[in-house]
Point group: C2
Chain length 318, copies 2
């Protein structure tokens, strides 16, 4: 990164998932096709699902973001907008573009910028629209990246975040990606997502880990979307203990770990201490037994878990 | 407004200009065509230019926003996003859509939303793109509203905020609006904009008045874009005196009033007290004589005045 002055850095969120990585790659490509000098970076290691997707598409993973990004560097954010979930010192950078499908957090800018937010299931859906609006061809590799991200983020349309737009875009991308059987391909994605072989408890907790400010408190919600919840729940005590350690390490007021059964569309959330116990009981009106809260069909962090916690902390449910 | 539950309120900023009013009308129309129940309102009285535009297009002005909007009402913001510039109690409403070309201010949301920001000269340019992306016809009335807003906001491409996109969109709208001579039409707009007959000094100061938080301070920047700066400057003493009153009334730390010569593209800014004198000297590196700072070609509040002040208050120019 020698020529930093006019190159835009494109990044997805920390603890990247498939949408974060593929959106960075595809949006950097879009910007370059608009004659903007842009390069995708990643903010962390890839999970097994994302590795599988890049391998299927025949695309290299983005470089890890360097440590020494100068202040004032131009940055494009995809699949996130909150500084806590972004690169180090984001507040010292010049954010010029954001493409996202999350709530708008603490982002502010000192000049007009490009923002494209839509309440759809996946950043890939918005990116596909942007390509089409600009009459750009989508090649097989790009279509595979986008399609995979949508299947991953929406749990193949099972997630309540799924919209008609996501389904239409998948229909459009399907022939371009030249993937025969979408259902079978989604199955392979979820299998890769569920494969936690070789990961420690701490690594699993942080694989899909996002922090959120709620009033004066600092919370984290981690998620494991899996076809095999038993594999995780049988290590429950190990996770609960490790969550207490992670809480300290990240200076958190609360930490929830949602174990989401992709196929049954159910969420069993691990509750490490009295702090979370009190909040979850009141916010979700549920009972908690042996460190597990059955949050039922509340499987979307973005659309269900975080808004419920936010409403609680804003005093609406108190 | 009896059926508030599912109707989205669409509003431009306070002290509305042509873009704020036409964007509210056109975006409400767009949402309705997307089967969303939406209605445009205005947050203040129309200026003479906007009255002329609506008359030319044959369109009624939007209703004034009622006082009793219930908390949690769904709101779409156009041509602004900062709460200080918006409807009363915006923080208690549910913002679901924003289309804007300003910097991103203090907006946050608790759920994913539609945001469409582009650093172009006018909201009308973005709205035209949105219509085209959605393959919607633009009728003569709508084209006239959009075209007028772009000519007004960009001072017919004289403002440094003007982009290639604004010019391309005007080219596209021109035949649809069925206005023969764009140059002559822009002249009529600026004549209407310059016509301050019957307005008191206080009314003129507030016609195009926006407030901005800078660190812990609360500033306002008003603008009069006119073909006849003499008419205003000959009343300078009256304005300077009235500005001190308005500062008190709005509890401002600073208040600048930019008198912009549309045709010569020059900005002479009125400086009411020592507070503004100190900041403007340091932030813009200019001399100030007899309550007037010659800010030269800094004619854009959004792109030049406010970013310079913001950089000053953020300590960059201190």
């Amino acid at each position: 990164m020698t020529d930093k002055t006019d190159q835009i850095i494109v990044v997805g969120h920390r603890n990247p998932d498939t949408d974060a990585i593929t959106a960075a790659l595809v949006y950097a490509d879009f910007l370059r096709r608009m004659n903007v000098n842009a390069k995708a970076y990643r903010l962390g290691d890839l999970n097994n699902e994302t590795k599988f997707v890049l391998q299927t598409a025949g695309v290299e993973q983005p470089d890890m973001i360097p440590d020494n990004i100068p202040e004032g560097t131009q940055v494009a954010l995809v699949d996130h907008n909150e500084s806590q979930q972004s690169m180090k010192d984001l507040k010292k950078m010049r954010v010029s573009h954001v493409v996202d499908h999350h709530k708008l957090g603490d982002l502010t800018t000192s000049e007009p910028v490009y923002l494209r937010f839509e309440p759809v299931g996946c950043t890939g859906t918005i990116l596909t629209k942007i390509f089409r609006e600009n009459h750009l061809d989508i090649d097989q590799k790009t279509a595979t990246l986008l399609l995979s991200a949508i299947l991953s983020d929406t749990l193949h349309f099972r997630s309540p975040t799924t919209t008609e737009d996501d389904k239409k875009v998948v229909e459009y991308l399907h022939p371009l990606a030249k993937i025969d059987d979408i259902q079978a391909y989604a199955g392979k994605l979820f299998e890769a997502k569920s494969d936690l072989t070789g990961f420690s408890a701490s690594q699993i907790l942080l694989l899909d880990f996002k922090t959120f400010p709620f009033q004066n408190e600092h919370w984290a919600v981690g998620t494991a979307e899996t076809c095999n919840t038993d594999k995780i729940l049988e290590r429950k005590d190990e996770f609960l203990k490790e969550m207490v350690e992670e809480k300290k390490k990240h200076k958190l007021n609360g930490f929830l770990f949602c174990v989401v059964d992709i196929l049954k569309e159910k969420n069993l959330t691990l509750i490490p201490t009295e702090d979370e116990d009190k909040v979850v009981r009141q916010a979700f009106k549920v009972d908690i037994k042996d460190g597990i809260a059955d949050l039922g069909s509340n499987i979307s962090r973005k659309k269900q878990i975080v808004p419920t916690l936010e409403a609680y902390f804003n005093g609406k449910n108190k």
